[in-house]
Symmetry: C2
């Protein structure tokens, strides 16, 4: 049997993402030991009960001796975690994260790590609207993109670490992509952050209406609204931190969205059917390209959702 | 074997909805004959090739002798269809429709029908983002709401016709609800029309960006955007007609949506994490109520989508 790729992986944050990673590492035998820490005692207890790995009571205990450290917490917690682990990191440890914004993650983490740590920011384009250690599952990363946004660090050991981390994610079933962190934040602002903001917003709007009751909204939600509620059920803390940490790109995309929406509203008000039809017809083309590109596979948790439904 | 509930059902419009109804009627033996007409010769040829029923070349030929007439065309075509069928309708025929807006459907259809016709406006909360006769399937209405918005017509034969139509839809697997047409249009404006408008809009915004390429949008669409593209792939003509014919309710809901979105944008700009977190956390409650109400079953075409993907 070949040696296990990592000796000890420390996962900080045992929610959906961290617990899925722990399960995936165990299933694929990519790490001899998996240690988990979560700032919440309740989550730690759940992680222990689920047998996700060695659950520790401190950041220090988790990362000590780890050759791979993964920050799987909301972005807003990154700076405190980086500060907390810095002096306990093994020499040459690879440090990575699963944050949805990358420039802010780098700014929060990089300055606090020792020079010999090999920090490779990363973002798995995977997830569900569920949260917590019980929501995780080993196949979460199967067939999903894993975006690495490495620092500009020419050291051979850093370049080797990138290759090693890419191999790990491929072993977990992901497709790995290297991207500039600023570009990542711009692309994800339109493909992820703005869609979530819009979904959160329309659900709140619906809930606040005086003219339509909540039970009517729930009852007829299958007509389109329901799909938004699924997206809007995602973790509020995680998303708060995404918006606070990718502010400029999100507000830029939102500005464009608002301009376009104002034009549609005007077309509706003035009965300009041609403008509406043209705008709507274009949207079909984007859908077709997604299907053609094979990016339309259903979320791996689909069956799970259905069981709960 | 009991007598078939209807002798001849005339379906006008052989797209996703009309062709699904034809299939459902055949499968459940609810109509001895099913006749279809579509204004497009190409769609008529497809309907004939698919063996959906008796495909006719004129409105007159389709509705002649029919005891049930179903308008399954975009709302914008209703007035012309009503005018075209009026003088060919059998005495006491039930006329219904599948339009997504009801006040405008009534205004377009009711004035043109003969006094002895029994017009019962209806809206099945069912559909997929596909269009055309090949996209239809018999189980489209299974477990879905069928909203009837009857006129204020105290005649016993009208009340009997409502009961008969409700029975038919129940036989096709739908849950039937009676609603006031204006209320329907208000409720659907928030549960269906606004979500579609928002989805159409964000897809158009993404396609128009200069800073992010189309291929990047497609590649990382799984992060949230993809769900919007599915909704936005719906039939452009049908949706054009929905917005043109439910203008006031849609613009009212859009106004509320815009207010709420402006507040979220402001919270992002000024770093008000608490406001964001509170808004996002509330959205989870709506999702939970949808799941609890059993309104979260996946669309019946889910497997079909996956095959195409």
């Amino acid at each position: 049997m070949p040696p296990l790729p990592f000796t000890r992986t420390a996962i900080i944050g045992a929610g959906l993402m961290g617990s899925s990673l722990a399960r995936a590492l165990a299933e694929t035998r990519q790490s001899a030991t998996v240690a988990l820490y979560d700032h919440s005692p309740e989550v730690r207890a759940q992680a222990m009960a689920l047998g996700l790995g060695e659950v520790t009571d401190s950041l220090a205990a988790t990362v000590t001796g780890a050759d791979l450290v993964v920050l799987a917490a909301p972005v807003g917690a990154f700076e405190a975690i980086a500060t907390g682990i810095a002096m306990h990191l093994a020499r040459g440890a690879i440090v990575t994260d699963m944050g949805s914004v990358k420039s802010a993650a780098i700014a929060a983490i990089a300055p606090h790590l020792p020079a010999n740590a090999l920090f490779i920011p990363a973002h798995p384009i995977a997830g569900t609207e569920q949260s917590g250690p019980e929501a995780g599952f080993a196949s979460l990363f199967h067939g999903r993109w894993q975006i690495l946004t490495p620092l500009e660090d020419p050291r051979p050991e850093y370049q080797a670490a990138i290759a090693r981390l890419a191999c790990l994610w491929e072993a977990l079933g992901s497709k790995v992509e290297i991207m500039d962190p600023r570009r990542h934040d711009l692309v994800l602002a339109i493909t992820s952050h703005l869609p979530h903001l819009i979904a959160f917003n329309i659900v709140a709007t619906a809930a606040d209406l005086e003219t339509v009751t909540d039970s009517e909204v729930v009852k007829y939600s299958a007509a389109g609204f329901r799909d938004f509620t699924r997206i809007a059920a995602s973790d509020p803390i995680m998303w708060r931190d995404v918006f606070l940490n990718n502010r400029e790109a999100v507000l830029e995309m939102l500005g464009r969205f608002n301009e376009d929406l104002a034009a549609l509203a005007r077309a509706i008000r003035w009965g300009d059917g041609e403008a509406l039809e043209q705008a709507f017809a274009r949207a079909r083309g984007v859908r077709r390209r997604i299907i053609e590109a094979g990016e339309d596979s259903p979320a791996p948790n689909f069956g799970r959702d259905r069981e709960k439904g």
